[in-house]
Symmetry: C2
Subunit: 424 residues, 2 copies
């Protein structure tokens, strides 16, 4: 008898009919002898509905007090769907109980709307499991030291599920979603995209941070830190499918490299249309300049992604970085009004019509020439590369947005991702 | 500077526009120098929406485990509206914070869906008030000893507000609703119905229990027990109306008889269409018979309202009572199948087409002949009385449902309720 954590996304919980299917699936696992903890998201659309109401009423200036109330508000979506799932399980004849984050409790810091889990007390949940109950734990939320409700940010239910699995040393955490696994790239862009049976934790981390929306990045970090076996699979298979078949479907995120059966050099192509590029030209090349530029940006709560500084020439250098497209106007204003003149920067230009395309693969560690193969493939299509950034297991380039599909397709082909890899 | 509790019903919280108006009204009271605690209901329709989802999924047999989940679910409506009101107050430039029942905490017993408040710890709320904040406390809910969320039953937010006002020794608890006070009877039935400026606690208690839906009966009991000055008034007056005028509008529920300025003998006419009548004929008249009949009914969780037993004749008696119309079929089945034969009852008949009409007035204590005046008025209209029940300050009759409007109108006129009473 193993302890298994299931997580169901908002689409899987989107109607009472779907909740009933989730209950039937969970009941099947329970009857197969497993101890089951289930973490549901809010019913699809509910979080947006609630935050939409808040937006209509929002104060002119955001504050911690305001964000505290956003968390009070948004956390109700998961509390409601959790209670509904417990009811659906009771209708299946099972004992079931739901707990809000504060009831477990799941303790977090007090960074409202993007809190981090600090600890989970599993005493109550474990007692219920021993009594034969299916336990539902609300996703997305926790409680800070002062007893305020906090939420973990968009996609936070993934993190809740992984954190619960880690705290309880679950045998596996299954993330049921509306896709059937992790693909070599987005199948809407490349129809030949192939589902990966396994992907390494580090690759998944890069893919999540590079814009693949299958899993919240923090959940992957958590899984890595506590080595939680994580599987992404579809909730739209028939609930009564063979349980062994179901338990081996989707994509498994692995931690041991020798477990990683598919020895492709590049495992996937990730891309992100949500970025904008800002370049400062003729920046005086003196110590502390990067801090003076990016410190101001960070203080305005704007996340910076890629950062490139060119080799200096005549005591001046070019300095470029990318930000989330939604922060672009704010960042440009800030730089133009507060930063540029004080630093003696010659010019500042920006571009929102860019995208980032990345190749990711744990095999890149031990293979040379992978980046240049990428650059050649793009050059053969006449695609100009504007920025380059590399890490041990990924290479990212910024290109003109209009080439995104072409770039992803040609890279997918260049690295033979439409073919199953040869077993090592 | 006084501590004031405001309670706003679901209609008053029904949209962001209305929530904004509530915030403006509360801000006005705060700026006038009052410490403000506000208890909102869920946005209108929300509780029904949530319980509707639960009903679609409900197990065949209700249980405490199921009702626990109903409370988890339904309590989210008030948590969401409370957070929204706090946000709206912040938008008005005020410091504001919302607390769920468990955060206050408001402690209750564990009777899910109809819990009773046992204690309120006001430490946290009082500290916030001292810091100049407007505190929002979710209505309708609390927490039991084991940390489960409980709800107080339909209309429970009234009780939350009165309980908070009692615990904090508030100067007054103002119940803002979609009517502008307590009327001599329902103005939809009698256009001449007059708003009462004051009504005694005991009269209000009778009216609430007799089907007047202005206040939840338990909130009136609570107000009586802790002598909380309670005022019912409209939330649909302009939010910026003169505050002194607003503070004296509506209907005040009083506790001192000498405060009770309107010395009418009868203060109001209540009526209730939700009942059904059951009569057992030829019941052997021996000790324990009432218990044997009503014990079985109570065990099936059916509430009994009026109970009449006639004088015995030839060792047999007639025994009648009324139940909620929704329980009628269940009660009849139970009596026919389990009770009737064992007791040797001759016949059992029922009628769902009845209604109960009551006159209520604290002055009935010291005036004789009030009941006979009621019976005469009904008889003059040719209305047959089927059952009669009296208490110190009310007389109720059961009549054919089709006469309800006629009965209420004629009683309203017979007791001069359309005329302001002469001051004592």
């Amino acid at each position: 008898m193993a302890l298994i954590v299931h997580k169901y996304g908002g689409t899987s919980m989107g109607s009472t009919e779907r909740i009933r299917n989730v209950a039937k699936r969970v009941a099947k696992w329970h009857r197969a002898g497993h101890q089951m903890v289930v973490v549901p998201s809010a019913m699809s659309g509910e979080t947006n509905r609630l935050l939409g109401l808040a937006k209509e009423l929002a104060p002119a200036k955001a504050s911690a007090a305001y964000e505290r109330e956003l968390d009070m508000l948004a956390s109700t979506g998961e509390q409601a769907s959790s209670a509904l799932l417990a009811i659906a399980l009771q209708a299946e004849g099972l004992d079931s109980v739901s707990y809000a984050g504060w009831q477990v409790p799941i303790r977090t810091n007090n960074a409202y709307t993007k809190a981090r889990i600090e600890s989970i007390d599993d005493t109550r949940v474990r007692a219920d499991l021993s009594a034969g109950k299916v336990v539902i734990v609300t996703g997305f939320q926790g409680m800070d030291e002062q007893g305020n409700i906090t939420t973990l940010g968009r996609g936070g239910s993934d993190t809740s599920a992984v954190a619960v699995a880690a705290a309880m040393k679950a045998q596996e955490c299954l993330i049921y979603t509306d896709v059937d696994g992790v693909y070599t790239t987005d199948p809407r862009v490349v129809p030949e995209a192939r589902r990966l049976k396994t992907v390494s934790f580090e690759e998944m981390l890069e893919m999540a941070s590079l814009g693949s929306k299958v899993l919240q990045i923090r959940s992957v970090e958590f899984a890595g830190k506590y080595r939680v076996p994580l599987r992404v699979l579809s909730s739209f298979t028939p609930w009564d499918m063979d349980i062994v078949q179901e338990a081996t479907s989707g994509t498994l995120i692995t931690f041991e490299e020798d477990e990683h059966m598919e020895q492709a050099v590049v495992s996937g192509i990730a891309f992100n249309r949500d970025e904008a590029k800002i370049a400062l030209r003729g920046v005086p090349d003196k110590p502390g300049i990067a801090y003076q530029i990016l410190g101001a940006v960070a203080q305005a709560n704007i996340d910076v992604d890629m950062i490139i500084q060119n080799v200096s020439k005549d005591g001046r250098t070019d300095f470029s970085f990318t930000v989330n497209r939604g922060d672009y106007a704010k960042a440009m204003d800030l730089l133009r009004n507060d930063v540029m003149k004080g630093l003696g920067v010659e010019d500042i230009v920006g571009d929102t019509k860019i995208c980032k395309v990345s190749i990711v693969g744990i095999g890149m560690r031990s293979h040379v020439g992978i980046a240049s193969k990428m650059f050649r493939a793009l050059s053969e299509e006449g695609i100009n590369i504007q920025m380059i950034s590399t890490s041990e297991i990924k290479t990212s380039v910024v290109i003109d947005e209009k080439y995104i599909e072409l770039a992803v397709r040609s890279l997918h082909k260049a690295f033979d991702l439409d073919q199953p890899p040869v077993a090592a």
